[in-house]
Chain length 216, copies 2
């Protein structure tokens, strides 16, 4: 089977917004949103949420999505704003991401940025900083993934770049039942992708609606 590029567990509002506008991001607000749990709470309630440290959590439908996070994934690609709130050249190498000493990725991670920085490793995750167009970065990530799939971690701007380049194979987007009105928008409507993707829409008992896309 081919190596897929997959968007997984990406959370947006009912009006398609996945994060606040870039200028609203800060150390205290990684997503630039007030009460981000309104978008992400469904994942945090599951047994297999990547940051969970206890043995609780639900094992219903939503848990099938969080437990799929690492299965057959060999690398992640993320935009710089997912990695951190800084802009422009790196002032120093102190910032090592939002995730503490045990980042949940446990694979090579390719952070897209125009500004050079040395790679570093935290536990099982190695972060690389790469400049280049989506196809070039994907080629690096595929090689690092050694036959496994590559996760496209976001944010919104990065996903749209890869969609525009025709490089995304599957998307799982969890739509929460609230309107945000302004911010970074993944889509006006999921129907925008129907020319290129199959779509299944699956309402969850938790209130979110899972949107599952795969290439036609």
């Amino acid at each position: 089977m081919d190596q897929l590029l997959r968007v997984m567990n990406f959370c947006v509002s009912s009006d398609g917004i996945g994060a606040g506008a870039g200028e609203h991001q800060s150390l205290e607000r990684p997503f630039g949103l007030d009460r981000p749990e309104r978008l992400f709470g469904w994942a945090g309630a599951t047994a297999h949420w990547t940051m969970r440290t206890d043995s609780g959590g639900s094992r219903g439908l939503d848990d099938y999505f969080t437990r799929d996070f690492a299965r057959n994934i060999g690398a992640e690609i993320m935009g710089r704003n997912k990695f951190g709130p800084q802009r422009g050249p790196w002032q120093d190498d102190e910032w090592r991401g939002w995730w503490g000493q045990e980042p949940p990725f446990r694979t090579p991670v390719f952070v897209m940025t125009h500004h050079k920085r040395p790679s570093f490793t935290l536990s099982d995750t190695t972060f690389h900083f790469v400049d280049g167009d989506p196809a070039t970065v994907l080629a690096h990530a595929r090689e690092a993934a050694r036959g496994m799939d590559v996760r496209l971690g976001g944010g919104v701007t990065t996903i749209r770049q890869f969609l525009d380049a025709g490089l995304v194979d599957t998307l799982h987007v969890a739509v929460s039942p609230l309107k945000l009105g302004s911010g970074l928008r993944l889509w006006e409507s999921p129907d925008e992708l129907l020319d290129r993707f199959h779509l299944e829409v699956v309402p969850s008992p938790s209130g979110v609606t899972h949107h599952l896309f795969w290439r036609r």
Copy 2:
């Protein structure tokens, strides 16, 4: 996290029947059913169906269930009738299961039978033949699973034994929209399990209804 005992991708009719009565099973009819694809077709249509050899298949909701088949599973327990159509003492050791030279399990498999037979290995799967009550067999399977979960493969009679013994942690049962009327029945109604399990009921675009149970 504990080692769970999990029923996965188990298929029944809308009236709870998972196989024909035992006397209807034969070499040509492993499930003792006419047109078994009426129960199992949803799984065969997915990209991650364990027996798929091409690169096609759907990647919607149903595929999340088939792709979960091997994740964190270290052993399977099955009843003798899932392993083969013979009854009584083994006449010889020629029968090696329904699955050809590449069984999809790729772990130790514990076949429950009162009749002794030596273990054997096919590709990545080793079949052991064990006599004992459910708790004893589960203890063996847990040890073989080396920290991972154990899959309870069925059939109906085996699942009911383990349910009666209070040993099942999660169940995923796919209910197909057809009535069979007679055969081996998993339940009269899924509500029978609500005293012990949470339940989420998730209709799939394919027509089956996924029932997801986990311990209260």
